[in-house]
Symmetry: C3
Subunit: 212 residues, 3 copies
Amino acid sequence: MSAIESWGETLRLLVELLGTGAFALSGLLEAARKKLDAVGVCVVAFLTAFGGGTLRDLLLDRRPFFWVQHVELLWAVMVLCVLAMRFMRQHHFEITEKAILLPDALGLGLFTATGVHLALNENMPLLVAVLMGLTTGVFGGVLRDMVCNEVPAAFRDHRPYAVCAFAGGWCYAGLWLLDIHGWIALVACVAVTAGLRIAAVWRGWELPAWQV
Amino acid sequence: MSAIESWGETLRLLVELLGTGAFALSGLLEAARKKLDAVGVCVVAFLTAFGGGTLRDLLLDRRPFFWVQHVELLWAVMVLCVLAMRFMRQHHFEITEKAILLPDALGLGLFTATGVHLALNENMPLLVAVLMGLTTGVFGGVLRDMVCNEVPAAFRDHRPYAVCAFAGGWCYAGLWLLDIHGWIALVACVAVTAGLRIAAVWRGWELPAWQV
Amino acid sequence: MSAIESWGETLRLLVELLGTGAFALSGLLEAARKKLDAVGVCVVAFLTAFGGGTLRDLLLDRRPFFWVQHVELLWAVMVLCVLAMRFMRQHHFEITEKAILLPDALGLGLFTATGVHLALNENMPLLVAVLMGLTTGVFGGVLRDMVCNEVPAAFRDHRPYAVCAFAGGWCYAGLWLLDIHGWIALVACVAVTAGLRIAAVWRGWELPAWQV
């Protein structure tokens, strides 16, 4: 492996950790708002962090799950839960929410790219592969909201989230069709997804509403 | 293939398309009522149309999913979502709801028969096969209601829906036991399920309530 | 098989039946409270009784499901539903709730032990195995509450339930590491889980709340 590839691999791992942490934190915040107990807080954090990738692996019939191969991820989220319950207070919530915007966007891009990649590797049609990318990136949050007895925020807040992942996913799939090298496609997908997401938050873009 | 079989196959395909469309439309109506955004509308339509069959395939460990083999179904539902959001307005809702009653009933029958057939083919016990038929026909709507944060209509509206599929499923399983040819069992299952469902709606039949 | 082993096997089967019945009854009570119709009552009872084990088997990719191998369990729960709807009235609810506390606690212990055992048999890491045990014991109730449109009681009522299973699961996993014979580990896991659970109910123990 060349120096640049090993550097890239480290970067990818870092983004994955940051993204997983951001997803878990968004679960923690939701659980705190719903006043769940310690068990609920941990389960919701786990579901948010690992739910999307687990659903993708179930649908693609892939075993072992990524969190079985990297069981240290489970330990990390568990430690994060304990630390949050010990040290995090109401007045930290708003700043946490702002602080996770960027890692969450990067994580969304990376998880989408991973999902598309794994599905294309199993010869899925392009549309299915993009939907698997979406599932990986978005369904952790959907499961979080379903368990917390809310209509999923991704489906009702009119802010682009899944749509950014959809665009990034098509990017990855298109480059794959052109036989363009994995790293370039990965960076392009993350850049498009995270770029769109950050632009959407910054400029206050809204999804078109159904004018019934 | 004889002329009558090819004609039958075309008819089966037509009912499948009609049923899938009716399920997707019922998801669209629910999403519009809950004021979901464009992403939510599409996801709920997809879940309603494909959720039951996907859950059945997960439980029976069948791959590839039917929507991977027939990816044009995914495109069709996506186009339906875009058209609905573009052209469908509040005053179309009531007539749509009435118009999908018949294709929904036929689809319920066909999907139930498909579920029972696939499960019996994998040597499942009769009761399990009938429950797989039920799952195929009914759980799309259940997932729709769960995502939309409602108690599933199929479980609380006291109108026979799953019960019709249950009767139709036992019909199919019984004929299978008697070694009666696939087409006859399929038609019988659809006829019983759809017939009961339509009679139930028409006559206003109600499930017995638990008089606690 | 020695006399003691055959006696043990009978006892295990008895606890399994009692536990499944207790889970199904807790589903029936919840369904009655939400005024579901006959279909909803049955589905919720099934989900509560079989949901946790089914989710575990899905995650571990085990087939056939335990309720396919023991289809008589499905019939038993169906008969239980019919009997409950026929004979159970409001004034039986409170006593039923008290009467199922003990079989529910024993069932929780047994199902946890089963989950841990099956996962360790497939060479899962210890933490994953314990989580699979938890899933088996707890997610039936979680699915029950999700379908009934409630935040799962296990995540918000501050009473130790999943935590007892967690402790019992680590017990089993620890004894497995020490190569201690299956029966001893099983009994230890059930004793720790059920003992903690019953002590928690009896003494009114509460989980620490997150003081946000």
